[in-house]
Symmetry: C2
Subunit: 321 residues, 2 copies
């Protein structure tokens, strides 16, 4: 089919000779593209850039939320207008510019995942952030969708100029051959990924503890359950705070609404429920802005406690900065 | 302050001579930019591009929702995490590519509004849509934030190649000097804007009626109250439909939640309430995707009827197309 621009310019050439009648337009092509996945907001003097690493469209089954009847899960999702088939799992990272430091929190997949992931590099570039200028990388936990992006398939560190700060609890767990051998073969992927990503630079990692500042203005808080060392972060500037929940609560439309639902991936499910409620209670009571790694991009907003869980108020796009 | 790239390249030059220690990074600049305001989705075989024209940050007072105590309005907004000060009013248009035609629905401000508006041109370009290739413009109603964008400040038609289809009811109302003279001076702005925009090409406009297809697959439906000729649209392709609500319901977090609240700008307030409920009932019952001109971008999602109104489920960003 003739492209519209060609068609019009052909028509213009024709019209130069004689006033030809205006041609009927050719059909415009469908474009199928989306705007880059970055979203800027501020917390006090800090500038935050939410960054989309991509998503995976797949299936969910009754193993995803093992303590709830699958029919009830589907019914809930339909009530929230969340597509069930395919089920889309999103991966959303962020960069905090504290003024002094550029801090990346979690890293997606780089080129180690599905082709619909690994978009952090392109979205960083679209956002005007040079990956080489990242000063500090903070890791919430050692699951593959959070750490694979730190080292590409070719074995190179993606943020080679940055200090890498990781939860001591997850380092102890996922870097242990003994712990790996204690779980079934099918559950060893996360251990192997942790080895792949961190073994080559293990001595350069800063293993850090809850309750400390891991970067200026960014304090690690205990949020285990999803993994033994899972860490959330409170980002503070001026009198503003942002709670970076990470995976202590997966998609808030499902797990903030139903905080007692177990996520199949939570290693200690009762502890995960306790942690989730502790964090969401705090965010609701203090009206803190929150981010969730698996919320729909830009994956930031607010939660408000209800009789049965927490409602989710996603922050919406604006270009007023 | 020395730019980080300069700093690093200076350091690299130094390091070429001797292995100098890695310099401390300079602070990264804040960027303050946002991704372009376009969002693609599909309805059957149609490709839709939601497009942001911008927003205005201002004040609201007790005239905005005259039948509700202002304190209750503020309390509701706070409960929904909607900023009250400043209050942000967004303007969101859309293009429907039906395959045969490129159809723009409503047009924002072009360069006739506040500097934080008139971004449709830039967002169309970012979305890969040539403004000159728009075949058809549909107008929901004649308020300035919907029609100003059809003719720029210099007096030129912005979509000169397109057929302009307008609601006959609003043409009759807003192009009438008699009707204008019947309202107080302060209420004449919309009449004057309609004159500015449409008088020069009045004979070329297609005045159209409710219940008809105004473009292939796009049917106009009665939704008066906001203005006498206010028109909503049902966009249909295959077995999918999109309800383009326009201004029959302003920000759904406020007016879908509270459909009986009067918007100050609604010319016939009881009729506007009746229309709003009729449209939202239909969308809820049929689980139709909806768009609202004044919802937060991308201004599309779903509504679900509750005991007191309708909950709003915004569609979220994905780059899986």
């Amino acid at each position: 089919m003739m492209d519209r621009r060609q068609f019009l310019s052909t028509a213009a050439v024709a019209a130069a000779g004689a006033m030809a009648p205006l041609p009927a337009f050719a059909a415009a092509p469908k474009l199928g593209t989306q705007a880059p996945g970055f979203f800027r907001f501020t917390i006090g003097d800090f500038e935050i850039t939410a960054l989309h690493d991509g998503s995976v469209a797949g299936e969910i089954d009754d193993k995803r939320i093992p303590n709830v009847k699958f029919d009830d899960v589907v019914k809930h999702m339909e009530s929230q207008y969340i597509p069930v088939k395919p089920f889309v799992n999103q991966f959303n990272t962020m960069v905090v510019n504290t003024g002094a430091k550029l801090v990346l929190i979690d890293a997606g997949f780089a080129n180690n995942g599905a082709p619909t992931t690994g978009k952090l590099a392109a979205n960083l570039a679209a956002a005007g952030i040079d990956a080489k200028s990242i000063d500090t990388v903070l890791v919430s936990h050692f699951h593959p969708d959070h750490i694979n992006g730190l080292r590409n398939k070719e074995g190179e560190l993606v943020y080679g100029g940055a200090e890498h700060v990781v939860p001591a609890g997850d380092f102890a767990h996922f870097m242990s051959e003994e712990k790996m051998n204690a779980v079934p073969e099918a559950a060893r992927g996360a251990f192997k990924t942790a080895q792949r990503v961190f073994a080559p630079n293990a001595k350069d990692l800063r293993q850090a503890e809850w309750g400390k500042e891991w970067a200026p203005g960014i304090t690690a808080i205990q949020s285990d359950g999803h993994t033994p060392g899972h860490t959330s972060f409170v980002v503070s500037s001026g009198n503003k705070t942002l709670l970076v929940v990470g995976d202590a609560c997966n998609d808030p439309r499902i797990f903030a609404k139903n905080p007692e639902w177990h996520l199949g991936f939570d290693l200690d499910k009762p502890k995960a429920v306790e942690t989730r409620k502790k964090l969401l209670d705090m965010a609701s009571a203090d009206r803190m802005q929150v981010t969730f790694y698996h919320a729909a991009f830009p994956a930031t907003g607010f939660v408000s406690k209800t009789a049965t869980g927490y409602d989710w108020y996603p922050m919406s796009y604006t270009d007023l900065m």
